[in-house]
């Protein structure tokens, strides 16, 4: 395993200090904690997110004016603990309550729910928006449900804008649930991620294989398929995403997200194919974003996210400017 690190078990601590010391005008660390918070927070509903590390820049990269109030960093691919989330909630609270944006994984849900209980014991009103945008896990009645993946950053962005404009906790919760319902993602991997403390990739693929329906935690995906040219991949992913909507969207926002190990060159080739397809389908693409936003350490692969932009306000929110490290 070749990585630029020191001791694997010190990675989170060293990374966290590296982040806050690199961008001290934007963020700070809440002392002795795993929480990165924005400087000079405004009087609004607090927005807290977080999860396992390994998805950088998510979530610390989205802390700042117009987006998150604070992010909690768990160990690699491991959800943070309730005591740390509680610290983030207390930091984010300016008297209007705190909204937790939680990706749908058992660990995240359990720990954030426990933190919500703790916050309520301190009389901080708290709500949870669960993000489950991944469409790859079928038959979710018999599983832990659909996963929360790259679409999460669009939830951060739109709710961040609404919170800044004075939306209440209840309004943000309701809006968040609607945004999630309108957001769909699917991912493919060419090569698995290597978790530093594990030292080897989570699964292995042949030279001509791709793992279809991967999540962002290095677990194997739902199905293995043969590598296809970007055009074919785009056709398959676009049709799967469109089919996942009850009503075919007329206007979309799209996000091509690199999993960490895939060059921008490939991401731009891919989005070129996606845009051509959507153009041929006469679907209006009103927002586009390309890059590494919700990674899986060094996984080679990408995910494609669609958001139905029927709501004009969401389009405005996505295009509004923010002051964060990574948006």
């Amino acid at each position: 395993m070749k990585k630029i690190i020191n001791e694997p078990k010190e990675i989170i601590e060293e990374m966290l200090i590296g982040i806050v010391n690199s961008y001290p005008s934007l963020v700070h660390r809440v002392e002795d904690s795993r929480v990165v918070a924005k400087n000079a927070p405004a009087k609004q509903v607090g927005l807290v997110s977080g999860g396992g590390s390994g998805h950088e820049p998510a979530h610390a990269g989205f802390v700042g004016d117009g987006m998150l109030s604070a992010a909690v960093l768990g160990d690699v691919f491991t959800s943070p603990t309730p005591d740390q989330i509680e610290i983030a909630i207390k930091e984010a609270d300016r008297g209007q309550g705190v909204l937790l944006i939680v990706k749908n994984y058992t660990g995240d849900i359990l720990n954030f729910e426990m933190a919500k209980d703790l916050a309520e014991m301190s009389d901080i009103p708290t709500e949870i928006v669960v993000v489950d945008d991944d469409i790859a896990v079928e038959d979710s009645t018999y599983t832990a449900g659909k996963r929360g993946v790259a679409g999460t950053i669009l939830v951060h962005k739109i709710l961040g804008n609404a919170a800044k404009n004075g939306a209440s906790l209840t309004e943000l919760k309701e809006m968040g649930d609607r945004i999630v319902a309108a957001t769909k993602t699917i991912g493919v991997a060419l090569k698995a991620a290597t978790v530093p403390e594990v030292g080897k990739p989570g699964f292995s693929l042949e030279d001509d294989e791709i793992e279809f329906g991967v999540g962002i935690h290095g677990e194997p995906g739902y199905r293995r398929e043969k590598l296809q040219p970007s055009k074919e991949l785009a056709k398959e992913l676009v049709s799967k995403l469109l089919a996942a909507y009850d009503q075919r969207p007329k206007k979309l926002g799209i996000l091509v997200n690199g999993m960490g190990g895939t060059p921008l060159m490939e991401q731009f080739v891919f989005i070129h194919d996606v845009l051509n397809l959507l153009n041929a389908e006469k679907i209006n693409v009103a927002f586009r974003k390309v890059g590494n936003y919700m990674t899986s350490i060094d996984m080679q692969g990408i995910s494609l996210t669609f958001i139905d932009l029927a709501d004009e306000n969401w389009q405005k929110a996505l295009n509004s400017s923010v002051t964060t490290i990574s948006w």
Binding site: F77, T106, L110, N111, V137, Y142, A144, G202, P220
Partner: protein, 199 residues
């Protein structure tokens, strides 16, 4: 059988060692159907327990379970932290004022409160391919004075052919079949460490 705070603390100390020894194995089990970190997570939690134990010097069974529960909740993370943490939190409550356990049945009743904590949090039932698939049989075996190394092993082994309905393994659907569950394994280690103290 006589289990006092001494035996409980010796058991948990042995379990700490067992987790440390088996952490790579647990993470290996967590690789085909998870993200490969169960061993590291549990080891982090039990090391924290050891540190907290030395700092706090709990004197009773209930205090010991409380130190363990807090260590697991604040250091393990993932789903295992809240699930094991809730189990031992319930054990903390159920063992208030308890100074000795004199039968396997009494122990079974005690661990049953732990099992309810796990099921209340995680909502798993037997057959979902989780730690419940070891806790539930173990509770039954204790109630029938039937707890043995082989019975614990068998419960763990049975998770191999189950399709995961909960947790990260569930995203794999049928591909989760043929792999032993890591949470069931760390639970099997827990109860196997207990066996020497039941004679």
């Amino acid at each position: 059988m006589l289990v006092t705070v001494k035996e409980i603390q010796a058991w948990l100390s042995d379990y700490t060692e067992a987790i440390e020894k088996n952490k790579d194995y647990l993470s290996e089990l967590d690789t085909p159907i998870g993200d490969g970190d169960h061993g590291n997570n549990m080891n982090r939690g039990m090391s924290e327990y050891q540190k907290a134990f030395e700092a706090k010097q709990p004197q009773t069974i209930t205090e010991t379970f409380k130190v363990l529960s807090m260590a697991l909740i604040s250091k393990v993370g993932g789903a295992s932290g809240p699930l094991y943490g809730s189990a031992f939190m319930n054990l903390t409550k159920a063992s208030k004022d308890l100074t000795e356990i004199t039968s396997e049945k009494q122990l079974g009743d005690l661990f049953e409160t732990g099992l309810s904590g796990i099921q209340a949090r995680g909502k798993a039932v037997a057959g979902d391919k989780t730690m419940v698939d070891v806790w539930q049989p173990v509770v039954e075996q204790l109630k029938h004075s039937d707890l043995s190394k082989n019975n614990i092993e068998a419960a763990k082994e049975q998770t191999k052919d189950m399709q995961a309905k909960k947790g990260r393994a569930s995203y794999l659907g049928e591909r989760s079949i043929g792999h032993i569950d890591p949470g069931a394994t760390s639970s099997a280690l827990l109860f196997q460490s207990l066996l020497p103290y039941l004679n």
